[in-house]
């Protein structure tokens, strides 16, 4: 069962590692101690072994060899003749807690032993006792000498050391865990702060931001990402709100017309002609609303990316030529001349939608133009891009309005009697961008406006 909290998980892992490390050190310490003990015991046992071996074959005084050339080796000692030199008698004393003892076997039988020796019947028996340690070796003369001792003192010492290490380990573990907990808490505290701030912001005021104390650390980057997300959300909501309020706003006037017309007409008895007029006025208003709703829905769909642009190859120049034909009557009304310069150009895209864009640009050029003015439309390819330019000889767009023309509901002249809701360019921009292209506008101080659309030929 792994707890969900990072703090606890970190703590558990850290604790486990600490335990393993401390245990490792503890065991190593114990082992070193044990080795040291063994070395000490071995040294003592070897010393005593030499003493016993020496006592079995005492060397006569005089020279290391102790035998004159030609002298025969000594006879085997008889048991009662065996004794340790007096200076070594304390070596095998039971007063020493180690209880060093020796046993000598000759020809398979116990020959001599120290008074504190344990009784062994055979040489093989000795090493198998618990808590006993010793060395048993045969002498060149055939006797088997066994020197042993009790390891009880060593074990007690080891045990005591082990306990001390364990207690120390527990204390260290405790402090280590406490320290780790404190440290982890401090490290995670900023995360809790960020989390709390983010919750507050997302539940309430999206214009607030999280305070970023250390911009470079990992947490700083996290806070920065959250802040930028909030900024985007804020902007998106604001745009949505603005859009909804603009849309409602645009609908007010046609509704107002219908309401006033019908209320007036119903105020008293009227003749058929008057009713007809009223009904026609209502129809005009309703048509305005219909166009507005249609444009709004299209924009909304383009926004949501729900509109699948068709991807077919078609000749853009033919499409544009058709649009020009479509708007000719409108141009002739104001005596405006349209000049075309269209080179055949195949592109991939949605021909209907791009026709919408071309028509929109053409109608704008005609409507925002002087009577008897000119409109030039040009289509060419350059560097893998289809470039469509529409220019007019109208009054132009003031510099302060230029950055805003593609915004929704934006109209240069603030009234709206043109029947134009100000969505045409916004929709055109959305369509162009959905094709991976860009649309730009420029205007001269002396007048005239140029719209440029750049589309990738292959999208």
């Amino acid at each position: 069962m792994i707890p969900k909290s990072i703090k606890w998980r970190l703590q558990i892992w850290y604790g486990l590692i600490l335990v393993v490390v401390l245990a490792g050190f503890g065991l190593t310490a114990i082992n070193l101690e044990r080795e040291r003990q063994m070395t000490w015991l071995m040294t003592n046992l070897e010393q005593r072994f030499a003493v016993v071996a020496g006592a079995l074959h005492p060397r006569p005084p005089g020279g290391p060899r102790g035998r004159m050339p030609g002298e025969l080796p000594p006879q085997d000692l008889r048991p009662e003749e065996f004794h340790l030199p007096p200076q070594f008698s304390t070596l095998f004393d039971s007063s020493d807690p180690h209880n060093f003892y020796f046993v000598v076997f000759r020809r398979g039988e116990a020959f001599a032993q120290s008074t504190n020796a344990l009784i062994y019947h055979s040489p093989d028996e000795a090493p198998r006792q618990p808590h006993q340690f010793g060395i048993g070796r045969p002498l060149p003369s055939g006797e088997m000498v066994y020197v042993g001792c009790s390891t009880a003192p060593e074990l007690r010492e080891l045990e005591s050391t082990a306990w001390k290490l364990a207690i120390a380990g527990v204390v260290i573990l405790f402090f280590g865990l406490a320290g780790g907990w404190w440290f982890v808490s401090r490290a995670l505290h900023p995360i809790e702060n960020i989390s709390a701030a983010a919750v507050k912001i997302s539940a309430g005021d999206l214009s607030q931001r999280i305070n970023v104390a250390e911009a470079e650390s990992e947490l700083g980057k996290l806070a920065a990402v959250l802040n930028s997300t909030f900024a985007r959300l804020d902007a998106a909501f604001a745009q949505q709100k603005q859009f909804a309020s603009d849309a409602a706003h645009e609908l007010r006037t046609p509704v107002s017309v219908i309401l006033t017309q019908t209320q007036t007409a119903l105020n008293r008895e009227r003749g058929a002609a008057e009713y007809r007029e009223t009904v026609e006025a209502c129809q005009r208003a309703a048509q305005r609303m219909r166009k507005l709703i249609h444009a709004l829905l299209e924009l909304a769909r383009l926004d949501a990316g729900q509109e699948q642009m068709k991807r077919l190859r078609f000749d853009f120049s033919k499409t544009v030529a058709d649009c020009v034909k479509l708007v000719k009557p409108l141009a002739e009304e104001s005596g405006i001349k349209i000049f075309t310069e269209l080179s055949p150009l195949e592109i991939t895209g949605d021909s209907e939608r791009l026709a919408q864009v071309a028509t929109n640009l053409l109608t704008n050029a005609i409507q925002y133009n002087y009577p008897e003015g000119e409109v030039r439309i040009k289509l060419a390819e350059q560097g893998g891009l289809a470039i469509l330019t529409v220019s007019d000889t109208g009054p132009g767009i003031p510099a302060e309005d230029l950055p805003h023309v593609f915004k929704r509901f934006y109209r240069g002249d603030k009234s709206r009697t043109g029947g134009n809701a100000g969505l045409g360019l916004a929709i055109s921009k959305a369509i162009v961008e959905a094709h991976g292209g860009v649309i730009e506008v420029s205007s001269n101080k002396d007048g005239g406006t140029v719209f440029t659309v750049r589309l990738p030929v292959i999208s």
């Binding site: 107002s256 219908i258 309401l259 209320q263 009223t278 006025a281 009234s415 009697t417």
Partner: protein, 216 residues
């Protein structure tokens, strides 16, 4: 009462003008800001219905300039209903503010209210002797009995009553009761005055020879 409507949406303008005329007002119209201001400055309308979004000059601008010279009651018409827009309108000098789309009868009531207020009358009912004039219901009672008046006759009575004590010249009456839509012959005014006297009593309207008429 003579009203000026400044509104650029043609269907709305036509409809409003017709409705107000049928209510008995004389109505002038303008469909852009410049013309509207020109009209408003050139004449003392009893009230102006002013749209905010106008070509050539918006409603705020017109109001600001108008207020330099005239105290004509102004009712602003607009599609903006934010509180701050209302505040701006009222602070700039509008007397009231109506949001589109509006109910026609509400517009009429507010119009009557601002006219009444500018004439310093606080109630809808004006009592002159035995005659009670209800400006809201647009009817007249003589000794508690309703009197049949034509729209023109009522307008005449209402205008004189609201300017009670003042002498109203014939020219003023022409301008306030008739608009460009009708040909006004000077006799017509006398006919109306005479008819009113027949219905409400000869002393109701006093003639000041050479000056005009008044109700005392």
């Amino acid at each position: 009462m003579r009203i000026l409507i400044v509104e650029d949406e043609p269907d709305l303008l036509r409809s409003l003008a017709q409705a107000l005329r049928e209510e008995g007002y004389a109505v002038d119209t303008a469909n852009n800001g410049e013309d509207g201001l020109f009209n408003a400055e050139g004449y003392d309308y009893d009230a102006i219905v002013l749209d905010v979004m106008l070509p050539k000059m918006d409603g705020w601008e017109i109001l600001k300039r108008l207020r330099k010279t005239k105290k004509t009651p102004v009712l602003m018409l607009t599609a903006r209903d934010q509180s701050r827009d209302r505040v701006r309108g009222l602070d700039t000098g509008a007397d009231d503010y109506v949001v589109k789309p509006f109910d026609l009868s509400e517009l009429f009531a507010r119009l009557r209210a601002i006219i009444r207020r500018s004439a310093n009358k606080t109630t809808n009912v004006i009592e002159i002797g035995n005659v009670k004039i209800d400006t809201a219901a647009r009817n007249v009672l003589l000794k508690e009995k309703p009197v049949e008046l034509t729209a023109r006759e009522y307008s005449l009575v209402e205008f004189l009553a609201l300017h009670r004590g003042e002498v109203v010249t014939r020219t003023q009456l022409y301008e306030h009761l008739f608009d460009e839509n009708e040909s006004s012959l000077s006799n017509l005014l006398d006919v109306h005055v005479s008819n009113v006297r027949k219905k409400l009593g000869a002393e109701f309207i006093t003639t000041r020879r050479g000056h005009g008429y008044c109700i005392e």
